[in-house]
Amino acid sequence: MALVLSEEQELLQQTAQEFVKERSPVAKLRALRDTQDPVGFSRELWKEMAELGWAGIVVPEDYGGAGLGYAELGLVIEECGRNLVAEPFLSTVLLGGNAVLLAGNETQCKEVLPDVCSGERIVALALQETSRHDPYRIALRAEARGDGYRLSGEKLFVLDGHVADQLVVVARTSGEITDRDGITLFLVNADAKGVKATRTLMVDSRNAARVHFDGLELDRSAVLGEVDRGAAVLDRVLDRATIGLCAEMLGGIQEAFERTLKYLKERQQFGVPIGSFQALKHRAGNMFCEIELARSIVMEALRALDEDRPSVSQLACTAKARCADAYFLIGNEAIQMHGGIGVTDEEEIGFFLKRARVAQMTLGDAAYQRDRFASLRGF
């Protein structure tokens, strides 16, 4: 597939651009933060987005989706990234939804996915247990008890964990704490006895939670996919979510850069626009190159998902490493070039810096991705 947009894709992009700009500009995130909104995003807006088909773009038609590809989903998420949209694409579509889609049986898919597509159900992935992404490091035990399992342990940084209707819980059914084997996925109702989610307020004003499992009793039917073999499907879920997250980051990077360029042209010091200073020009030129390279790899990775290429994992690592570094660079340069006004809460550019750092750490930072890439290549 080509690295340029088709006419249909351009149309979708335009629709998304207009809708998001109109309905969910950055001011929306600020309002959610300042009103201490208990949900952290707008359920109504999410349903509207779902009605536009966005929640189900990559879900097969049988389960209520549009059966389109990641190339399309990426365009929508990128526009959301430009406006720091808080609605649950990452948690529900990319992580939770994909876990059900890739690991679930027909019953589970039919039960969950239509509601995901309609925007009525939030599904979160409960994975991380320490302060960093380390997907096979699973200590949360699921002990076999009779015909079911009993789960105890704690998960951190569960995106949208406190408002999720269901959780996909990554648990250990056998093996040692960092073994790839012995991991099993469970589909859990958030209101089940023994589940307690506590919201954790993050600097980027996006949703995350700690979820505590205290002897949660589960039926065997709660298992998603194969017992002890969850890592394989988890890898695929994480690749998809990582690439989707990169599309979001790309949008944020592009927007932060464009706002900075605008400021460089407007702000006058020493009687001239500050964008006429060569040192700033050269830094802007280097940022431009970084963004163009980031765009190329994100587009390629999205297309590789649609074509189910074996290189998907390596492309996911490359895309995330590059987007993490680029968002870091541009987030910081945006602040620096905005000068004092850039560190005020009143100016919106700071929201991009905050999102940049959280997104950088989400699903593994650049160092993690480079390490994984080398491991995938065997060196």
Partner: protein, 395 residues
């Protein structure tokens, strides 16, 4: 001059007798004293310690005794610093008057102005703030617009200042104003002292990305200021302004002020958050960054030390304050990015449950550090100064 070792003995004894035990050791409860008309003393011992130090003039050890200073020589002042540090004594007073205004008053002010203002600074009676930047005059400070028009024996001052730290808590402001709008921009600026209690002065705090902040906007509307409050020559304020900026840069690059946050053991954080109580750290990329920071920090500290020694030996490093402002703040920002990487998502909490107070503090300090390379002259301005003044590169 008495023998220096005798002096050291005296100082040591005096400290033993006079510094309250509660004013020694790390300042865990943030009890620092800023003085002023509305001074706050969380701990009554703080006032005691300030008053005792001020009585000897040791809040301003090298200022002349006639202005209530300590009258110490450079060598004696060094001994005083050493002994205070040795005994773990905290600073009795944190003050822009001491660190920024005082030195330029000593250099540029009239005898009357010195008599009027310096003793109050020494004793922490008046708290000062700095009225420099304006919304349209940041890096290009000399384009400032606040007007001061002479009307009889008073200036009538109008305009707006921004980034005025603690303006809402200060008693007086030292301020750059435009006294000649027709002159080339650097030649029409004067250095004026304004009583914040004057009618027409108001302030509003500025909220930063890290949350609330000490910065304010200060609005000055038709405020009448006595002519005698002008320091130096009319329209000669730019020279004073630049000298004061040098003192500010040194203050910022000095770990004590301006840079955010208490010292923390990065190695300790690494061990805790990488869950590695001993032996080699399991993440080689983070380990490498940790070492880089430790090395940078060591080299920077040695350069501060070398600069101080060179200054004493008459072998100046040249524009050192710009280098220290630049490197010190950039390094501090890198340090916080490293800390965030070490703590992972636990460093990205804003408030509430799920994070320790120190984790929240690190997140806020990390965001606050983004201002380091902007306040007190941006990194770009420091690079311009180094290129011009030290390296002699042409305009």
């Amino acid at each position: 001059m008495p023998d220096l070792e005798t002096f050291r003995e005296e100082v040591r004894e005096w400290i033993e007798e006079n510094c309250p035990p509660s004013k020694r050791g790390p300042d865990r409860d943030r009890e620092e004293v800023w003085g002023g008309r509305n001074a706050v003393y969380k701990n009554p011992d703080s006032k005691l310690w300030l008053d005792r130090m001020a009585a000897r003039g040791w809040t301003a050890p090298t200022w002349p005794k006639e202005y209530a200073g300590g009258g110490l020589s450079a060598e004696e002042a060094k001994i005083l610093r050493q002994e205070l540090r040795r005994a773990g004594c905290r600073m009795p007073l944190v003050s822009f008057g001491l660190l920024m205004l005082g030195p330029v008053l000593l250099e540029f002010a009239s005898e009357g102005q010195k008599q009027e203002h310096l003793p109050k600074i020494v004793r922490g009676e008046i708290r000062w703030c700095q009225g420099y930047s304006e919304p349209g005059a940041g890096s290009d400070l000399a384009s400032l617009q606040m007007r001061a028009v002479l009307d009889g024996d008073e200036y009538v001052v109008s305009g707006q200042k921004i980034w005025t730290s603690y303006a809402d808590k200060s008693d007086w402001m030292f301020c750059l104003v435009r006294t000649d709008p027709d002159a080339p921009k650097r030649d029409g600026i004067s250095f004026l002292l304004i009583d914040m209690a004057s009618p027409g002065v108001s302030t509003t705090p500025i909220k930063l990305i890290s949350g609330s902040s000490p910065f304010c906007q200060a609005f000055v509307e038709n405020v009448r200021v006595p002519k005698k409050n002008l320091v130096g020559k009319v329209n000669g304020g730019w020279t004073i302004a630049k000298r004061l900026l040098q003192h500010e840069r040194l203050m910022i690059s000095d770990a004590g002020l301006g840079l955010t946050g208490p010292p923390r053991s990065l190695e300790g954080l690494a061990r805790k958050y990488l869950a590695c109580p001993e032996g080699p750290l399991p993440d080689p990329a983070l380990r490498d960054r940790l070492v880089q920071h430790m090395m940078d920090d060591e080299c920077f500290k040695l350069t501060l030390q070398r600069s101080a020694e060179a200054a004493k030996a008459g072998q100046g490093l040249g524009a050192a304050s710009s280098m220290f402002k630049l490197y010190g703040t950039e390094m501090n920002m890198r340090k916080y990015e490293l800390m965030v990487s070490l703590l992972g998502t636990q460093a990205l909490g804003w408030e509430g449950e799920g994070f320790t107070p120190d984790e929240i503090a690190i997140a806020r300090e990390w965001l606050r550090s983004k201002g380091n390379s902007l306040e007190g002259g941006t990194s770009e301005i420091q690079l311009n100064i180094i290129a011009k003044r030290v390296l002699g590169l042409p305009d």
